[in-house]
């Protein structure tokens, strides 16, 4: 809900940035990763990777499943194939998540540049 509310303040607002640059993780997965709430993680699929802020999911337990809100950062992780449906696969993607405490979450401009290589 915070994603939708903050979008009304503008895509370049700090509120929107904070609401969509998160990776919600199961508490057990966070322990296994050795990461803390608010620390940065690198999320990588076979299509791309992006740095996001790890946060403890309030919709758990969902061990082995991570959630990233729809937006410019999440779309850095999608492929273009629509399997003749027009619709790329935006959910159920396999991803590797690792700690990235020294890395910075890209800004909206930076993530657009990251997406286009």
């Amino acid at each position: 809900m915070s994603q939708a509310r903050s979008r009304e303040l503008g895509k370049f607002s700090e509120e929107y940035f904070r609401s969509v640059t998160v990776c919600e993780l199961d508490p057990d997965d966070m322990t296994e990763l050795g990461t803390m709430d608010g620390e940065n993680v690198r999320v990588a699929t076979k299509f791309g990777q992006v740095i996001l802020r790890a946060t403890v999911s309030k919709q758990g337990p969902h061990k082995g499943v991570a959630f990233v809100p729809y937006g410019a950062w999440a779309s850095a992780l999608f492929g273009t194939s629509t399997h003749t449906s027009g619709m790329p696969t935006l959910k159920g993607l396999e991803a590797i998540i690792e700690r990235a405490p020294g890395s910075k979450v890209p800004t909206l401009q930076e993530v657009t540049r990251l997406k286009v290589g």
Partner: protein, 427 residues
């Protein structure tokens, strides 16, 4: 007043305003209040045209002139967006697409496009949300989290609503099927946690169980077979069931095969009881975009008009595919942000072609545009028709004036059409 955020179309908002700005939106959800009271945030105040790499303010006439030239000179222009504007504007969009020989697609293509493909194959047992409110004794939310995405859906239309024949929460059962225990799942009488990408498998198993046939496996998509059989029994034993499904079905592996399985399950259930299925559409007029495009071209989205007649072939004539293949050579974007939401290879191509944006607020797409024309926010600064999730048309009304010089999408598109006609098509 009708809310113009999600496609639930809540029509009980009480707005107070000072003539320029909305001060409060009583009865609105948190998202609705934010939408109505934040109209001034990040606004684009003047038409902009890119000159020497920089977006600079110009007159409305110059912006329209440049837009008309871009669209007329393109071989395969894409006209994209349309889910956050009025049916009247979408109708103008189809006229313009036909005039310039373009591809018109709406955001359905990357949300419930697979739902439409499923409906075309299987059909749809549906009803209005009012009927659900009055009669449904079993509500299922599958792959959606309305407590966050459609905050008043449960209170106005389902478990917490006071209907004519179902008046209290106790008279209804709620089942949630999701990969996570969402805030909606926490309200459920039964939560079924499914493995990612397991929807087709579970839906098909439910069809088997609902027909009274035996399931040989011990578990289906991480769900014990016993639970599958219990859910099938709840479905067949109810008097009026309503299955609402979201992007958890359409965006995962299987896509339109998943939606076909869900629609077929509900079709099967209607041999035994009354059951309906309704997609949880996102933006407030994405349903209207499908309705208008279907009236005018015969197809609901991804319509190619380059040959002088409509062609519909998702995977070929859909926006992300056509852009990724590098075929689109100009884009008119109306109330959408494909630079944020399209995958990388598609964005890379978009950034290399001229984009015209009709948008109230700054986005990465407006930043990358050749022309930006500010537009009035529908349902707050402009009036028009929108369609609710269940296909019920509603009138979204203007309450305050848009910023000086800012026009509605209909007025802007009308001006573009007139200019294109005047200068003639050049190919």
């Amino acid at each position: 007043m009708v809310c113009t955020f999600c496609a639930s179309g809540c029509d009980d908002l009480q707005i107070t305003h000072d003539g320029r700005r909305v001060e409060s939106a009583r009865n609105g959800c948190a998202i609705s209040v934010s939408r109505f009271t934040s109209t001034g945030q990040s606004r684009i105040s003047k038409p902009l045209v890119r000159t020497k790499g920089v977006l600079r303010p110009v007159t409305f006439g110059k912006a329209i002139d440049r837009t008309a030239r871009i669209l007329s000179n393109a071989r395969y222009p894409l006209l994209y967006g349309w889910s956050q504007t009025s049916c009247e504007a979408i109708s103008k969009g189809v006229e313009l697409a036909e005039l310039v020989g373009g591809l018109i697609d709406n955001t359905t293509t990357s949300c419930h496009g697979p739902t439409i493909l499923g409906v075309q194959d299987v059909g749809e047992a549906t009803c209005t949300l009012g009927e659900v409110r009055h009669s449904a004794d079993l509500v299922i939310y599958w792959g959606c989290n309305p407590i966050h995405s459609h905050p008043h859906h449960t209170t106005r239309f389902t478990i917490f609503s006071k209907g004519r024949f179902r008046r209290t929460r106790k008279e209804r059962k709620l089942v949630v099927v999701d990969v996570r225990r969402t805030d909606t799942a926490k309200l459920a009488d039964r939560f079924i946690q499914i493995q990612p990408n397991g929807d087709y498998e579970l839906l098909t198993a439910l069809r088997v169980a609902a027909k009274g046939e035996e399931i040989e496996q011990d578990s289906i998509a991480g769900v014990p077979t016993e639970t599958v059989e219990e859910l099938a029994e709840m479905m067949t034993d109810c008097e009026f069931g309503a299955l609402f499904f979201g992007l958890g079905i359409t965006m995962t592996a299987g896509k339109h095969r998943n939606t076909e399985a869900a629609l077929a399950l509900v079709r099967d259930l209607n041999y035994l009881t009354k059951f309906v299925i309704i997609p949880m559409r996102g933006w407030f007029n994405v349903t209207g975009a499908n309705e208008v495009t279907t009236w005018q071209t015969g197809y609901p989205y991804a319509v190619d008009l380059t040959q002088g007649y409509p062609r519909f072939n998702p995977g070929d004539t859909s926006a992300i595919d056509a852009v990724t293949r590098g075929e689109v050579d100009a884009a008119l974007v109306v109330a959408s942000d494909p630079v944020s939401h399209f995958p990388g290879a598609a964005v890379k191509h978009l950034l290399g072609i001229p984009i015209v944006s009709l948008e109230p607020k700054m986005t990465p797409t407006t930043e990358a545009s050749e022309v930006v024309i500010p537009s009035a926010i529908l349902g707050i600064e402009a009036s028009g028709t929108i369609y609710r999730i269940d296909g019920v048309p509603l009138e979204a009304r203007k309450v305050v004036n848009p910023p000086p010089g800012v026009r509605s999408d209909v007025e802007i598109l009308d001006a573009i059409i007139k200019r294109v006609k005047r200068q003639g098509r050049r190919r």
